[in-house]
């Protein structure tokens, strides 16, 4: 969709003026303009029709939000493309479409998911979950049992699974032929025939290979399907899970247990407390948030994670800024080779972050890393970086200092150049020392220029996933956390990641979204603070 609107923007912009060689104020000839309008209308109509079909398909699939957003976005953008008053916005159509669908929609969808129980086992709506469970068949005890032989239609394509059929022999010796979705056909008793109405008997290796394909398949009439139970036995299946809509109860016909639906938590729960294999997706209100703030199991690790997130962001900014400023002051006075030194100092900042972090991770290896082996040779002791929570945190802040201080060095160098020297002259007249000049003039003036970037850097580090994950994967682990495991150096964003995408664990999208919303709020507050700093919002007037 974005590609087609991308193409239509420049074309629209150009042709709108193609007939208009006279100066801007006079309109292009009416006929050209009308033709152009009609072509545009036609193109948009085609695009809109396509999008509408796609959106409605999504809505029918239960993704009403996504389908609705896509349709609404397309309609709004079509208005922009058709109305002349909105001509300037035509330039932005591709960007607007992208931002609406992939930035704004995900923000609101995150908010929505955070108020639901969407997670593994609760991925489907109630009717979808029931439909999925209805496919679950079981072979009741005492059901008619058969021996089976497999047949294949002569000349069928290699991957055509519908070409298989079974010959079933019941305990009385009666033979029945069962193709797919057809009634059973009686066959004369006796050994299975080599061929039967265009089907050939498979035996030996062919039979074994066929078993791989047909063991999940159903044969015979659709309402009473027959399936393969074992290498030789087949039997008539029955639907295991039957839903009684009137009583809102799910029944397990295999065990006879009843699972009343709990529509508040999205589960089918038996009196014994056992739940059916699939729950369903329901809004659960503030459940995720109250879990986040009140669950005793979560609270301990969460307080630790939050504290570390703030500490990490704070110390990262303070240390990098201090060293960066120090270097900028030292480099402020020219000396031979300054350009080479400056270029060399930028290298850490230029290396792709992942690579630098992994290099540090190697160098800080406890047993064979160069830093620890050297320290042990010199002092007989080296910090247990990846094992001890405190040393792990120190290592991470140190690595971030290494990564970030060149940035502040560059920024501060620029800002120092911009401070008018007359101020220093006045201070000298007043007898200020170098120390006083730094604290009372340089630093305050510098902070005016660099302050917003400090806040931005804090915000960035607040959400710094790369460093945390690549360094120690959040470790060392906090004892008592297992699903998912949380570590002492996990920050909020990696904590969120673990709940949503941790390998092996339960994916709890609802809870992860709730954490994300909390981070949204914190970052939002920080940013408002930053905007007050820069008065950026107020600056957006009609002439900016």
């Amino acid at each position: 969709m974005s590609a087609s609107s991308l193409a239509s923007t420049p074309a629209g912009g150009k042709s709108a003026g193609a007939g208009g060689s006279p100066p801007a104020p006079s309109a292009p000839p009416a006929s050209v303009s009308t033709l152009n309008y009609l072509v545009r209308l036609l193109l948009l109509g085609v695009i809109n029709a396509g999008v509408l079909v796609f959106g409605v398909t999504l809505i029918n699939d239960g993704n009403a939000f996504l389908g609705g957003t896509i349709i609404l976005t397309t309609l709004l953008l079509s208005v922009v493309l058709l109305r002349n008053a909105l001509k300037p916005m035509r330039w932005m159509v591709p960007s607007l479409a992208l931002v609406a669908l992939l930035v704004v929609y995900p923000m609101f969808y995150t908010l929505y998911v955070s108020f639901t129980n969407y997670s593994d086992g609760h991925r489907h709506t109630k009717s979808e979950a029931l439909a999925l469970m209805a496919a679950d068949k079981f072979l009741p005890e005492g059901a008619v049992s058969y021996e089976w032989n497999v047949y294949r239609r002569e000349g069928a394509a290699e991957d055509d699974a519908s070409a298989y059929a079974l010959l079933l022999t019941d305990e009385a010796g009666g033979n029945f032929f069962a193709a797919q979705n057809t009634a059973l056909e009686t066959v004369p008793a006796g050994d299975p025939p080599e061929a039967f109405s265009g089907y050939l008997l498979l035996s030996g290796g062919d039979r074994f290979r066929a078993l791989q394909v047909i063991q999940e398949m159903q044969f015979g009439p659709a309402d009473a399907p027959i399936g393969i139970q074992s290498r030789s036995a087949a039997g008539e299946f029955q639907q295991r899970w039957v839903f009684d809509a009137a009583r809102d109860v799910l029944m397990d016909r295999e065990t006879g247990a009843e699972y009343p639906a709990d529509n508040a938590t999205g589960e089918f729960r038996a009196a014994s407390g056992e739940t059916a294999p699939l729950g369903f997706w329901v809004p659960t209100g503030f459940e995720n948030y109250s879990r986040l703030f009140t669950s005793p199991v979560l609270r301990g690790p969460l307080v630790q994670v939050f504290g570390w997130t703030v500490m990490f962001a704070f110390f990262s900014v303070v240390t990098s800024f201090a060293l960066g400023l120090g270097m900028a002051l030292v480099m402020n006075k020219p000396f031979p080779g300054i350009r080479v030194v400056r270029s060399l100092l930028i290298i850490p900042y230029a290396i792709p972050g992942m690579i630098s972090i992994l290099i540090w991770r190697g160098m800080l290896n406890l047993n064979v890393g160069v830093i620890n082996t050297t320290l042990e040779n010199l002092f007989g002791w080296a910090p247990p970086w990846s094992v001890d929570p405190m040393w792990a945190k120190i290592a991470i802040i140190m690595v971030n200092l290494w990564l970030t201080y060149p940035y502040f060095m560059l920024i501060c160098s620029g800002a120092l150049q911009a401070i008018p020297t007359s101020i220093y002259e006045a201070a000298e007249v007043d007898g200020a020392t170098a120390w006083e000049k730094f604290w009372k003039l340089t630093l305050p003036l510098l902070l005016v220029a660099v302050g917003p970037l400090l806040v931005a850097s804090f915000t960035y580090n607040f959400n710094n996933y790369l460093l945390i994950e690549a360094m120690f994967q959040g470790g060392p682990p906090i004892p008592g956390t297992s699903a998912p495991p949380v570590g002492y150096t996990d920050n909020l964003i990696s904590y969120t990641f673990r709940y949503a995408f941790a390998a092996g664990g339960t994916r709890d999208y609802g809870f992860a979204s709730a954490i994300a919303v909390v981070i949204f709020l914190i970052v939002g507050a920080l940013t408002l603070f930053q905007f007050r700093f820069t008065k950026r919002l107020e600056e957006i007037g009609e002439n900016v």
Binding site: V103, P352, A456, A516
Partner: protein, 307 residues
Amino acid sequence: MSENTAAAVSLGTLRRGGVSRPPSVGTILRVVFILVALIFSLFPVIWIISAAFNPSGSMVNQTFIPQNVESLDELLTNFNRLFNDPTVPFWSWMFNSLAVSGITTVLTVAMAAVSAYSFSRFRFSGRRALLVTTLLIQVFPNILAMVAIYLMLLQIGRYIPFFALNTHGGLILVYLAGGMGVNVWLMKGFFDTVPRDIDESALVDGATHWQTFRLLIVPLVTPVLAVVSILVFVGTLNEFLLARIILTDREKWTLMVGLFNFVSAEFTNDWGVFAAGSLIAATPVVLLYISLQRYIVGGLTAGAVKG
């Protein structure tokens, strides 16, 4: 010009004024400070270069200067292993990274430039609201919406396989949207500094807005577009979380995801291979940064932050 001279003069006064201690101590301190910073900054770099050329390839046996190297082939042991190990599709990762970052960069710069031009040159109702929205949106990193983005690609991918999970198309789409806000802002700022007289005279001569943009403004702001391109390119190249969520096949990974997973396995033994790969991947980016540092700083102060 006169300002510069004044600055130079007063810098001189400042220097003379600042010398309250014997000059030699200050100079020595300064040199020590710079040397310590250089060692801190460059040691890991030198160490990884040394590791890349160490034939043993293991962290345990690494020496600062590779030992017992008798032939060029031996010096390149790690590179040979890197290129010939079928479980490490290094060139695929490299190619994926370059392709994803390259396409993202070209499309981002094109779309953002067009949008920024409109914001900079047109006055229309809703402009202020759109600008404020852009500003507010760009402060929320799209990694926070990772769950929603993941689910969205999952849902869309059932119908449009090109943008499904585990495709570069889907990843590029997410990157494009994520960087739009900040880049439109950055470019609008630069476009505002180009005098409007230039395009107004062109418009009076009968040029369309599109012609003005393409033939007048774009050539004028080419250096800016280049800087934004580099920032977008390197930023995309470095992105890890979304690439990790969206791409699941080893063959489709970007370099950062690939290196991370490679290292998670047998790091200390494959240290040399990792070093060789890192060297190949990092060198072009570092050279780009160093050669263009002056322009990049301008872009950085204007608002983009890289960690």
